[in-house]
Symmetry: D2
Subunit: 362 residues, 4 copies
Amino acid sequence: MSFNTFGHLFRVTTFGESHGVAIGCVVDGCPPLIPLTEADIQGDLDRRRPGQSRFTTQRQEADQVKILSGVMVHPETGVQVTTGTPIALLIENTDQRSKDYSDIQNKFRPGHADFTYEAKYGIRDYRGGGRSSARETASRVAAGAIARKVIAGMTVRGALVQIGPHKIDRDKWDWDEIGNNPFFCPDKDKAAFYADYLDGIRKSGSSIGAVVEIVAEGVPAGLGAPIYAKLDGDLAAALMSINAVKGVEIGDGFASAELTGEQNADEMRTGNHGPAFLSNHAGGILGGISTGQPVVARFAVKPTSSILTPRKTVDRTGHDTEILTKGRHDPCVGIRAVPVGEAMVACVLADHLLRHRGQVGG
Amino acid sequence: MSFNTFGHLFRVTTFGESHGVAIGCVVDGCPPLIPLTEADIQGDLDRRRPGQSRFTTQRQEADQVKILSGVMVHPETGVQVTTGTPIALLIENTDQRSKDYSDIQNKFRPGHADFTYEAKYGIRDYRGGGRSSARETASRVAAGAIARKVIAGMTVRGALVQIGPHKIDRDKWDWDEIGNNPFFCPDKDKAAFYADYLDGIRKSGSSIGAVVEIVAEGVPAGLGAPIYAKLDGDLAAALMSINAVKGVEIGDGFASAELTGEQNADEMRTGNHGPAFLSNHAGGILGGISTGQPVVARFAVKPTSSILTPRKTVDRTGHDTEILTKGRHDPCVGIRAVPVGEAMVACVLADHLLRHRGQVGG
Amino acid sequence: MSFNTFGHLFRVTTFGESHGVAIGCVVDGCPPLIPLTEADIQGDLDRRRPGQSRFTTQRQEADQVKILSGVMVHPETGVQVTTGTPIALLIENTDQRSKDYSDIQNKFRPGHADFTYEAKYGIRDYRGGGRSSARETASRVAAGAIARKVIAGMTVRGALVQIGPHKIDRDKWDWDEIGNNPFFCPDKDKAAFYADYLDGIRKSGSSIGAVVEIVAEGVPAGLGAPIYAKLDGDLAAALMSINAVKGVEIGDGFASAELTGEQNADEMRTGNHGPAFLSNHAGGILGGISTGQPVVARFAVKPTSSILTPRKTVDRTGHDTEILTKGRHDPCVGIRAVPVGEAMVACVLADHLLRHRGQVGG
Amino acid sequence: MSFNTFGHLFRVTTFGESHGVAIGCVVDGCPPLIPLTEADIQGDLDRRRPGQSRFTTQRQEADQVKILSGVMVHPETGVQVTTGTPIALLIENTDQRSKDYSDIQNKFRPGHADFTYEAKYGIRDYRGGGRSSARETASRVAAGAIARKVIAGMTVRGALVQIGPHKIDRDKWDWDEIGNNPFFCPDKDKAAFYADYLDGIRKSGSSIGAVVEIVAEGVPAGLGAPIYAKLDGDLAAALMSINAVKGVEIGDGFASAELTGEQNADEMRTGNHGPAFLSNHAGGILGGISTGQPVVARFAVKPTSSILTPRKTVDRTGHDTEILTKGRHDPCVGIRAVPVGEAMVACVLADHLLRHRGQVGG
């Protein structure tokens, strides 16, 4: 994690502001000879795309990705593959409404990064949040689609497991339900509840937080580079870097603070394919290294601060004032964070797979 | 965060195993002309040192730090100062009992990193956990003592806020109490309760988890480098890298998932020294950049897996067996994680201070 | 220097192949509030652009740069400035002739990277050299234009000082002549000679090597981060990374091997502005840190291997064959390496300026 | 190359000053299960050790290396092997004479880093050059000994090929002669000449420059990570970082500036083991990637500036003065740079081997 680049061997550098010409990224270090087309990436982008239901921002972006470099049609197979050189991806910004930004140009929106960007840089791109806009996460999702191909054999899936105080019923978890509702929710009944609940939030001009869970299956034992590139450490950084995320946990997470050693440690027994764990409180990571069990990470997303209720703030000239954020916003930004979380986990796993192969081989 | 090094401009590389010759670290990038003696570091190390109460491991280590490089007596002032070159710190391992490790040599202790290190490297240092031992954190605390000098004017303090299901009463928070009990607990009454509670845990040969909170005050607005070196992202990686940590949160953390936008966003008013926030749900960070408010981070520490109850496991030859971890261990490893957490936060702040100065100046 | 990124605080990531959709780069870490327009960058690009004389490749590329992110019009001054966020630059490839590449597709051109890219990646973009084409250097020049603004007050200029065995007369060095001939040659008479000499090389279908010298003036004393980020070490990496470069030297360089200690070390005397050196054998760098004198670096560029004489080679199926490289190529690639060398030096200085400010301040 | 660390996957961090307690390094990322003892490292250190002939400094250092971490006796084979964790190496400084440094404490020695360290850091360790002393290179040689084990199958050897204006006769190159003279000279006759020549230099209190050549054989095709981690770029940085080095070249180096395309490009023919080159002007690297031929690098070492002739300089208070460097110094520091150059090349190759394996596998 370094400035606008993340990863060591599988490296992603993103660029772009919400209302600039374009956003995009450069994926460096991708292994060669992996089949890759724009369609492979577009699928993941479409899952994240706004405006697909009344529960996400009505901003209409085609989010059409274009591959600028790093691939070519294999002269023998005729299949477009990666070449081992950097893959640049471009997504043009098409819905940059020439709206009136004068209000947020001069006032700091509470809960947003307006004040801090200006404190740091002495200037901020006030148009739609600029670099701090969640729009940047489209680049991550695009990079994540490539990462998924690098970790072929592993499956990375995400689910919304809580909105406001309302948690899903884990006994009703059904991955097949994820695509059947606009919340990426694996609990069919709770999804129905969320629809009503969020309608209320949306109509009142308010917003609400959420918790997202990412599960990676098929992760081989041995990924992770202690001490300061532990798999969980890198996951924590990757997930915390997503807009509005305020907490990250692995396996039992904060609940493990309440457990005894007997309750927490996962016992082992010989299985058909070597040592097997009898439970997964650890979330698939011990000592910063994957155990071979599913890697389980969760993150908390705060409610968006763009609400229709006037809020106290100050303006750039140092006077007290109020602000009310109109415009197209998500009542629950946690929803669209699901594919973003998947992408980050996929990127971290791809990076660690290559790093492991580098140091240890195999 | 990269392998055994963390930080970009203020860089710390640690080395050493629990039962090897020595542990230590190299602190690179420290600004010159900062007064620094071994005593400055020893104070922090002593706070972390085991064997100081019956609630931490009885391993007896002097943990005497030695500065090998990077300082000299200033020819004019006669004060020993940093020179801008790498500061190497050495802590010899003095209590390496020649105990019988044959049991854990051949069996994987549940909840420990035994299985994963062996899966990754094909070998593991079974003596006291080797590199995965919490002993490594002494190097972090030593580095953190130097970091504190780099961020002069900022104060980084930690507190134990929960053991098992028992949280402190935040209304009773008194920083002065931290040094009055062996738990770094700011709530005098809860500290008394913890003493009894942990005695029970200890006598039963069990262990219990905990939650630690770190508060950094005096942090100027503007630290943090979006998008992938956000201050909270780096804090998350740093804290998650501590042994046994399973969750990290900033400000309201996971609780923010339950809040509405009205409840969560911190309003602002003009203060005596510029814009001021009326609350701190954000934990001092917005958009990955410090707000000028106290930076508040919490992390969950799982119970140590070294307990006196026999646990199911497998041995290296693939047979089912049981293991029971004797020896000197902490009933609640979260306690000693407090100074470690402080050190990690101090190091992250030092790094970001230098990075900010590099890009933006000032 | 890391994969397709160089620099630590001022970081440049380039992407793109010779005959792909576009090339470009992401400049990360640029300080905010620096005035920057596309015109600022275009000037440097135009100096490097091919097809400007009969001595460089006749490939016709507009090399029109487009800024995709990282700038905005300052709301108060109306001047477009950097915002501190990543600046993405795009240069579309407009002259991708649909020529017949079947010959070089199947044969390895001697002296080119055909064999090694294929050995490394199992595939290579044979169209115009792909990633190994000198076209990539346009991205560097664009980034260098931004770097120049970061190091305002320093001047970085390059000159061609040797073509084949013919060196310039240093007594006739006149920076004003650089723009008066198509060789960036500071010696007017030698430039006239080069014109005739290169005509002969060109007409015979051959090519010739060259030496380029870069001089940076106004560099403050103190830049450089020993031991492994010495200013000269970073310059060596940066210049050696330019296509066809086979040697780099600082100050007296290889000639210093023939000197005695008396001849080589630059003596000092008190000057008007502090200590002053009486000579500059060191090329402005001692112990990896700038002295305050002009930084002087030179690099040798081999002749391009694209010549009209048939050469022995093998094809991808392992058979002996011959190849003759037709097409648009430079008789002396060293010429266009001059602005590229300037750009690399400017980028290294910008990076070190920010790093120095980070660690030491000021 | 980053501050006091070099390498990406095989990472070396060095520390220590000439007259401090100790010097040493941390080697991070070394693959596990490689047999390694202190004796393996000591052999290389002894080749670099000063005081072995009258042609190198008479400083007497045992240079005894101690492994502090990262190895253990394999429980099954009884052989001490690497564990995959950081290997810390310590070399104590034993010959720190309490001599009078008052002269160099206050005066800047011409040609040394005295002025620049003070300009950068505001302080410098004047005792024996501090961090800028060639003593630091002992740490590199120690790390290089480990790197050699990582690149088993490759051979890295160095030779002194020029002292002052006197070059060896390449037709007389005999690697077996390297160990038969105190110059690492492969030309027996020239070695005899050098003995007389350097005696004259030494007795006159002067010093002289040199050129060193490093040849790595057995390097597989495919190592190197274009564009900004080219094998030659990394070699250039690594070799330029050695004390007193002012120039680096690969293959024909600066001589290639005088060649035509016909003369320079290495033709190919099918060999017994795949494509083979008919010459090696490229020095084993094309497009930044190894060709499978021997990698050939050369570097120029300036004469040490510590000479017995008084030289003009200024003191720290800004007054003109003279200085004469007494003490134990090398008449030709290029000699001891030979094993250091080997170590740097071995480290770069180890790093690139792991990186290549990471991205491409195999």
